[in-house]
Symmetry: C2
Subunit: 134 residues, 2 copies
Amino acid sequence: MTSQCYKYLVVTNLVPDVHNPACPTRVVLDRIGDRWTSLVVLNLLDGPLRFTRLRAAIGGVAPKVLTQTLRAMERDGLLHRTVHAEVPPRVDYELTALGRSLSTPIQAITDWAEAHVTDVEAARAEYDAAREDR
Amino acid sequence: MTSQCYKYLVVTNLVPDVHNPACPTRVVLDRIGDRWTSLVVLNLLDGPLRFTRLRAAIGGVAPKVLTQTLRAMERDGLLHRTVHAEVPPRVDYELTALGRSLSTPIQAITDWAEAHVTDVEAARAEYDAAREDR
DNA sequence: CAGTATCCCATCAGATACTG
DNA sequence: CAGTATCTGATGGGATACTG
């Protein structure tokens, strides 16, 4: 149920800490592994955006889902949500320093992906071809 | 439906490539964002393991799920699966060079998590406390 | 404009039992 | 030993319509 905690694995090669409910790396993977969080981070790096602009910048995200994503990120301290007392309403989303710092691991993933996606796709094609021969 | 591709976002700030079905970063996030792949990578860094040993090393993963994970990783060229013609059967799982290289972005995530998990948890506590006051 | 409210589905993941 | 088969539930994500 609970998984090994990466911290102890990487640092000391210890046995699984089965009763650790909040493995740091698991927390982060659950967040940036979702569909939209990393795109939100990248799109807000240049400065704050309001809801509709952000949604258009990302593309293809339903308003409900974007709201969920932004609320979760706000809760985690990754961004600030600022409601301006205007009509029509204006809400700005801006990364915190913590949120901006998340671009480092995201960039590491993007870099790896760019460098190796052709290898992955070749491997998939080969694997699938081998299975088709039967 | 299809999301913006990270490549064009990061490199050129272009508009969403809505019809790109295989955004490299999306492919990678879908893989390492799952529950077990990154733990498999970390546990195989020191050398090959057979199924049951790997399962014990990771801890808490059902055999069906581990098999799914390993098959997907094999298909992506991240590891080799070697069946020895013995009784009882012996199957070794060993990372490829590609699989080992994946430890770089995984490590970037782990590092970020270790460095900032207290910030995230503090933000969560604050957020939840603020909501409870009503 | 910035969301909510509903409904819905696919997928992931786990539990459990069984097998070549 | 190294899986497969089956069932099940949780959750993430999406479509659509509506509202303060």
